[in-house]
Amino acid sequence: MPPRLDELTMARRAASELEPGQVVALGSGLPVSVAAVLPPDAAVQLLSDAGALGYGASSDGHSSTGPALASPDGRPVALQRGGAVVGMVDWAAMLRGGHVDVALVQPARVYASGDLLGWTTAATPGLFAPGRTVDLSAGGRKVIAMLPHTGSDGSPNIVADSSPVADGRGCVNVIITDIAVIRVESGALVLSEVAPGWSYDEVAAVTGAPLAQASNLKEIAPNLEALNAERAGKVFSDGPSAIADLHDGATVMIDGFGGPGGMAHYLLVSLRDQGTRGLTIISNTIGIARSVNFGTPPGKLAIDHSILVDNGQVAKAIATYPVSPSMSNPSSFELAYRRGDVELELVPQGTLAERLRAGGAGIYAFYTPTGAGTLIAEGKESRVIDGKEYILEQALTADFCLIRGHKADTMGNVVYKGTSRNFNAVMAPSARITIVEVDEVVEPGELDPELIVTPGMYVDRLVVRPEGFSPYE
């Protein structure tokens, strides 16, 4: 038989599947080597469950200035410029929330259905220890399985049908082995590449499932050049261009707290100027800073959601504070609601934050005690768990999210300042397109990776708030 590929060649072939800009989560075993074969400035971000987002191989342990970080198999790694330190909660949420483009795993067995099994041993037949495998399999938008084509006894690791028990169900898109690249296409296996010297027949003979042959069967030839591409730019020249595709009828998250603290005022003005209509706004207040004085200078009006309401752009709000605390000075939304111009879904503040988090973290729904037995519970499932009453609340997601950061690097990593963190940080992962208004954009590496609150994977566009821009008008 011709020779089989070594681990690093397999890693190079796996890396050839990656595209610039992707976030890639690695499992243990063979996938770990992918970090070692990537070009130093590869335009992908590797995610380790040991807390490193955007790392590369490190030969001498951690860098002298950076934090001590580990790869998924515990080896020391160093952050690339623009990397961030994350915790286990973040890792899980990134995967489950659909923010990880590619997950690389080494299963013990792959089925023609795309199912996979993690490893166990003869010594532990009743105990399956998935570690991270189940999360990677369920969470990666594309799942690449890397494994030896056959076991140590020569039996195939790729087998027919589906698994009676599975650690991942129908999740595998591509299988990379030491002799072949096989694509899983609607429950069937298609051989697309073979290791040098191997033929279709030789590969099929050691594969335990029917194997179709791609019309253009090729020899495996890793090519990583595409990964040297420039990252797509996230910095927009101004507010109007950043929101140009924000369309009529969109759901938009916009927040901030109280008055001037932490609202994307410049983007709000841009949205008013654009005149987009029929918007559903998800926010804590739906504009009370304009009617309640949180420190507005005399003769001025605070910029808040009210400018959209006054302009007839809002159809509905999902909010916590829809009305002004002052009876004599109602908010624009309150007046519109009395007129019957807008709809309202009222959400307690903590529930709003948790529903937003759920949206970004891939939690479909959750039981919370907040609001049980009150008006908030009407129409919702109520359930007693461990002697306590809870109600079921659903995740919130949106088309766009307009948030207010302090500083960002060009990769979209954001830090906040004081009150501006509030709802902004929890909203950022929950929208399809997140646009951040910041005071300053810096180069990757200039923000302390331990201090990054919103990693760039959650941020699509950046706009610098113009110098001298006032949150009052």
Partner: protein
């Protein structure tokens, strides 16, 4: 006597651990392990413990929680383990032997599910519907439901009596920061336990840590001991 949250020794900080306690043990791949607290737990001799941790086959790469937990198991103190990967299968350590002998109970939970169950426990959530385990052996016996996003299974919160974490630095109010991979499970475990004990590399006065940099606010950290 402790001064505020500050305890003289790891033994003093864990003196009230009762038999039957559930204890969360932070640390991952040799990072962020509260080694002195784990030694004190061994010396304290409390029994029938349920330990929640994630380690796996990293013992050779550094001092993860695994060696300390093997000691606790060998010492007959542990009744149950909840973990995504409690030991390296086939490695033949004390945990595997005790499990095979039938006197150690092991509950395996995928790690992303475990961390979310801990967060739910810490955040007062009664349960979360997660898609992760759908169709896998980890979702087989759970309540399943369809949502707009797809199918999900109900995962229940996990709370504990104690959490043993390692922090890079804390102020005397318990506000804590971490270093690199040392963060891992600690912030969420700190939320999920009734009493969180932090072993701190550095203990400073309030005001000395950048308030924007604090990861675990002091409300989640009940006791502090110095790591040396």
């Amino acid at each position: 006597m402790p001064q505020g949250k500050l305890y003289d020794s790891p033994q003093a900080a864990l003196a009230d651990v009762q038999d039957g306690s559930t204890i969360l043990v932070a640390g991952f791949a040799g990072h962020g392990v509260a080694e002195r607290l784990l030694v004190a737990l061994l010396e304290g001799g409390s029994k029938d413990l349920t330990l929640v941790y994630r380690d796996g086959p990293y013992a050779s790469l550094g001092s993860g929680p695994l060696p300390a937990i093997e000691n606790l198991v060998s010492n007959g103190q542990v009744a149950k383990i909840i973990s995504p990967i409690p030991f390296s299968p086939g490695s033949g350590g004390a945990i595997e032997e005790s499990w095979q002998a039938g006197w150690l109970d092991i509950e395996i939970v995928p790690q992303g599910v475990l961390v979310e169950r801990l967060r739910a426990g810490g955040a007062g959530i009664g349960g979360v519907f997660l898609p992760t385990a759908v169709g896998t052996r980890f979702g087989a016996d759970k309540e399943k439901r369809s949502f707009l996003q797809g199918e999900a299974v109900l995962e229940l919160p996990l709370k504990a009596d104690y959490s043993l974490i390692k922090v890079a630095a804390a102020d005397t109010l318990g506000n804590a920061i971490y270093d690199g991979s040392g963060r891992n499970w600690a912030p969420v475990m700190a939320m999920a336990a009734r009493i969180t004990v932090a072993e701190a590399g550095l203990i400073v006065e309030p005001g000395e840590l950048d308030p924007e940099a604090i990861i675990s606010p002091g409300i989640f950290v009940n006791r502090l001991v110095a790591s040396d």
